[in-house]
Structures are given as structure tokens and as C-alpha cells.
Assembly symmetry: D2
Homo-oligomer: 203 residues x 4
Amino acid sequence: MTTPRHPDGKRAIPATTRLGKYDQAMSDTTETTPGWLTEDELETTRARMPILYVEAVPVRVDDSGEVTSIGLLLRIGADGTISRTLVSGRVMHHERVRDALLRHLEKDLGPVALPRVPPSLQPFTVAEYFPTAGVTPYHDPRQHAVSLAYIVPVTGDCRPRQDALDLVWFTPAEAASPAVQNDMPDGRGALLKQALAHVGHSY
Amino acid sequence: MTTPRHPDGKRAIPATTRLGKYDQAMSDTTETTPGWLTEDELETTRARMPILYVEAVPVRVDDSGEVTSIGLLLRIGADGTISRTLVSGRVMHHERVRDALLRHLEKDLGPVALPRVPPSLQPFTVAEYFPTAGVTPYHDPRQHAVSLAYIVPVTGDCRPRQDALDLVWFTPAEAASPAVQNDMPDGRGALLKQALAHVGHSY
Amino acid sequence: MTTPRHPDGKRAIPATTRLGKYDQAMSDTTETTPGWLTEDELETTRARMPILYVEAVPVRVDDSGEVTSIGLLLRIGADGTISRTLVSGRVMHHERVRDALLRHLEKDLGPVALPRVPPSLQPFTVAEYFPTAGVTPYHDPRQHAVSLAYIVPVTGDCRPRQDALDLVWFTPAEAASPAVQNDMPDGRGALLKQALAHVGHSY
Amino acid sequence: MTTPRHPDGKRAIPATTRLGKYDQAMSDTTETTPGWLTEDELETTRARMPILYVEAVPVRVDDSGEVTSIGLLLRIGADGTISRTLVSGRVMHHERVRDALLRHLEKDLGPVALPRVPPSLQPFTVAEYFPTAGVTPYHDPRQHAVSLAYIVPVTGDCRPRQDALDLVWFTPAEAASPAVQNDMPDGRGALLKQALAHVGHSY
């Protein structure tokens, strides 16, 4: 694939290129040109505006809708550290929230995961990632991101792509355990526990 | 099917026998004996306690979760009047809310409707049906019913059973139209419009 | 106050009289006669129907709505055991959910607590207390209770009455600590943690 | 007050200067310098990213939390057209959603309105304003704005400032009437009806 060029002639790069461990979860490889920002523009914007994200907690449910397991992506950072993340990524210009959810679910879980994006846009919570640690439970050193968080049952076959090593399914109790929580820094473990609480599991 | 007998020897009848137009939507024909009340007991209880119900708005959604149509049950009352209703019914003793939802969905939509009961029990609203009209927008001359209301995507084939004549699918705009709303008395039309508002459609 | 008599001449007693530790939180001393059940009737009903409850988590908030502390009622059971509970109680016949909330808040926190019952009836969760332990995280040996749970800011002076020894305010972190959680058996600690998660605090 | 200067020497202007009818509701006059964008930067960003907004429906409630009236801001556009709007505005960089809500409520309703920002960040809906009409019920010709919508009881004295002519209180039925809805173009009337539905009023 050749590198697209921005209409104004400057070399455009995908919005999330050159990012670290955390960002690997959010590479927006299917972005279309109009939504792209030059690298400088993105850096500038990140220092000036909160960036809108969506976050999805992939779950398996039984016939009665009860959550039986939670899927977490396993990633290895540039420094070799292991982390587990939820499905997440930016909402692009002129993209609906539910289309962004669907796009990131497909990107992270593959084309046959068959996610069931909920009929209502009411999120179970809004997670505010601040560049300064401690303002909220969520932290993103790179930017101020505001994330609409949803629980999304998936019924198909999940095949993580490219940057994710694996998708591992945990029971609700396992997902809330220190072993898993410790692999989810910067508030992602907290967000997962909020999701569990929302579906009736609190530990 | 023979009439079951209550353990204490009194003749037990299903909780919703002998009910009018409204109740046809809620006949609990699959109730097991321990949950049954004698007719007198049910009448007494209905005059003393709020009765817990679940209500489901069956919807079709597209791949992105957007609601494309709403399914309404068509019924003909003893007096020949036509009405449209949502899926609803009582929660039985020792029955989980999500099992009650599933049971009533199967009862009203048939065994292959494949309903997707939501992973969270948080309802989009709580509808309070009062025996006195005007206390709330909802009215049930027979009892004080408190109903937990959910939006439930169904993906299979819906085959209404016994007391329902038909299940008709409407677009969100049609469902909110006066023609349909007029067929949904006692606040059911209002509840449907609340469901539509919750999924982003308000008229 | 004299003991009211039931219209049929049987001696009527308040619905929650003669109850144990758990029930002290729910004595419905302000019930009016029509809503009362004779003791036998209540026992019978409890064995046949889910009983509708409301539950309130009293909180203090700062100007921005952020929860700064949670109020828990301290009680001493007949056997001397200490427990902490939320505000809770039955919804009576012909009583709106929001009126039941207000009544139980006044009963447990006194007349000048100035609770702010939320404008929407959408609860943050529905807690299902089963007489059989293990069906859900919530347990009530006495009955099948289904509880609509709300977070309620209170701004006034809280003066617990009669059966409650004290109202103690905890920070969110303290409320989620094992020390406090251990004093909240039968799923009430879990419900409190769900409330905390709903307002952005998960531990 | 002198016009602040951006650190890089370019003349900085408030993010929402020079905007039309709609924007008058959103002038961010209390922004601090770091959150400001130059006019060109804001225009560029608006063409590339969804912009995060908060929206508040100011309501009066009775003791039981029931909504009794809704406050709408009356504005006169440059072309003399009258419109009614909710409280709304951008979330700034490094600003919490609840602080943005509070800031815009103070800006639009004055310093003694005493708004009660809800304890949970879960919005009743997410309104997606697209620059292209028809993608969603919401439209903003100027930008792609994604708005977290909350119902906010206010108990104090509301004194609209500067650009708003007046704050007018309506009953729920009046707020849903065609007369009022017609003054709320671009989906704001629809959002108001969603808010009403969420608090139990649907028309």
C-alpha cells in the first residue's frame, strides 16, 4: 500500500503512527484520507483538545444474556512489557460512534467476530484519560482522551490481527483478579471492573 | 392438559386466567406449580402489593446496532377491539429477571426468535402501571404493576403463539405515528416512544 | 399510636415486624393501613412472589457532582453482630417508586436529610436477592426481593432513627475496603461497589 | 479585558468567536489561554476531528425528584430569527466533563443557579451533530460535534447572561409541543424530547 498524500500536498501519515505500547491498540489503519491529520497537526490537536474515543469490552454471553467471559487483547510493548487491553480507538471525522465501534472491533477481533453493537448509544460510563496522572483514575501520557465505553457481546470467531498477539477469554472473577488487573495499567483495569459491575459482577 | 392442583388441595389456576384484553399479553402458561397462586390469593395480592413485571421491546437491528424496525404484537380483545402490545409478563417467584424476559419472549415470539437479552439488567426505564389512571402515564385497572423495560434485538424467525394474532414490524417513524400509538392504550404507546427515544429516535 | 386493624378484623401488623438483622433496615413504620398485610398474608406472599424494593446509596457530592463520601447505616442485630447497610425498603401498593425512595430515606436518615431523588427512574442496577444463596450475588433468606438501586445525594443533616445506631460517612476508597465490605453481607457490599463503579470509582 | 496572545505570538481568539446563531450558546468566555486555539487552528480541527461537547437540560424538580419544568434559553440570531436552546458547549483540553458542565451552566444560567451536576457521568444519550444533514437527527453545519447529554436540576435563581435574551420555563407538555419544538432546529428539539422520555414524559 502506498502512502496516501494529503490534498494540500504535505505528506499525510495515519493519525496513530509512531505511537507506543498503548497506541498499538488503536492504530486506525482503515481511516480514509479526509480524516487523516498530518503528524504535526495531530500533535498540535492533542495538546489543545480532548480526543474522542470509543472503548468496547468484548464479552461472551449465554442465552439469557448473562456474561460468561470477557475477552482481553494481549500485547507486547516495544520494551517487552506485556499488557492487556480492551478494544479501543478514535472516532474519526464524520464517523458515527457506532461505526467507530464496529470498525475498531473488526480491526482488533477480525472480520468474523460478529459483534453485537448495542442498540442504544448510552454508554455504561465515560472514561476520561488525562495526560496528568491522578486527575481521574484513567491516564494517557500522550493526550486528553474521552472514551465512551460499551459492553459488546461477540458471537463469532475472534482472530486478533497484526499488533495483538492474542485474545484471551477470562471469567468475570478472573478478569477482576489482581493477576489480570496488574496487566491493565493506566486505568484500564478500573474500567474493566466498572464494566463487570455494570453487568452484575463486583469483586 | 389437566388442571394442576395446589399442594394444599385447593384448586390452583394459572395466575393470569380469566383476564381481559390487557392480560392476554401476559398469560403465564409455562409457570411451574410452586409459582402459582390460587385465584383468590392472586386477587388478594394484587390489591396489596405492586406486582413485578418485565417488558421487552423487540427490535431488528443492522450490523452497527442501529434499530431498523420494532415488532408489535397484534391482539383482538373479547369485545373485538384491536390493540398492539409489547412483550410483557410477570416475574415469578425464584425467577431471575433475565429468565423472565427470556420466557416471555419465547412465549410471545415463539421458540426460534433468538432474542438477545442485554448483558446488563439496567432497564431503559421503569414503567409504573397504576390502577388509578393519571398517577403516572401508565394505567392497569387490574393492579399496580411495576415493569422493568428493556430493548431486545431479535434475529430469528418470530412466530407469535396462541393468543396473539400476529407480529407486525414497523419502522421507528411508523411506531411513533398516531395510527400505531392509538392502538396502544394505557401508556404502552408512551413506553414505546420512550424506547425509541432511548435508541435515538424521537418524534 | 394504636395498632391498626385490618378491615377484615384480623389483627394487622406492619409488614416487616418481627424480622431479623437484615430487616431492621426496612421496617416500614410509616405505612398506611391499606398497604398493610396481615402477618400470614405477608408470609404467604413472600413464598409466592418477588417483592419489589428500592435501595438508595446516600452520598455527599461536591459542586461538580463528584461523590466525596458514602453514608452507611450501622446496625446491631439481635445476636449482637454489627452490620452496615444501605437505605432500603419495600414499595407499597399504590406508591410510586420515587415516593418509596423518599419515604425510606426519611425513615432512615431523618426528616432534614434533604435527599435529592434523581429525576430519572432508570436505576444504576437491579439487585435480585434470592432466598437460595448463589443464584445471584445477593441473598435474602427470607424472600425473593428485587431491588431498584439508586444513588441519592443528600445535602442536609442526617439523623438516623430508632433501629439504626448511627450513620457513618466513608470515602469511596474506605467504602470499598475489606473492613467495610466485611460488614455488608448478603451482597450489600457488592451492590455498594457497583454503585461506586457507576460513579467512576472502582477498586 | 485585553485580548490574550497565544504563546507562539499569533493573535489568539476564543475558540467560538465569530460564530452564528447556534454558537452563541457556546461562547467559551471563561477559557484559559492553554485551551485556546487560534482561529485557523480551530477551523482546521473542526474539519478533521469530532469535537466533544456537553449538553445540559436544566430542570426544576419537586421533592420526589419529579421534573416539573424545563428551562430553555431564548436567543435572537444575527438575522433576527428566534431560537430556543439547551445549555451546551465544548469540553476544553484538560477539563473534566463535569467541570465543563458546571462551567457552561454557570455561563448560561448565571452564578447563582445552583446546578446539581449528576454523580454519574453516564449520559442519558450521546447526540451526534453531523455537518451533513440526515446522517443522524442532529445537524451542525459548522462541525462534527459529539455531545454528552445530561439532565441537570437547578435550584437557584437563573439569570441568563450576555447573549441569551431570557430563560423561559416550560412544563414537560409545553416543551414537547410543536410551538416550542419548532423553535429548536437542528435536532435540539429531538434531544429535548429524548430527555423528557428519559424522565418519564413522552408525547
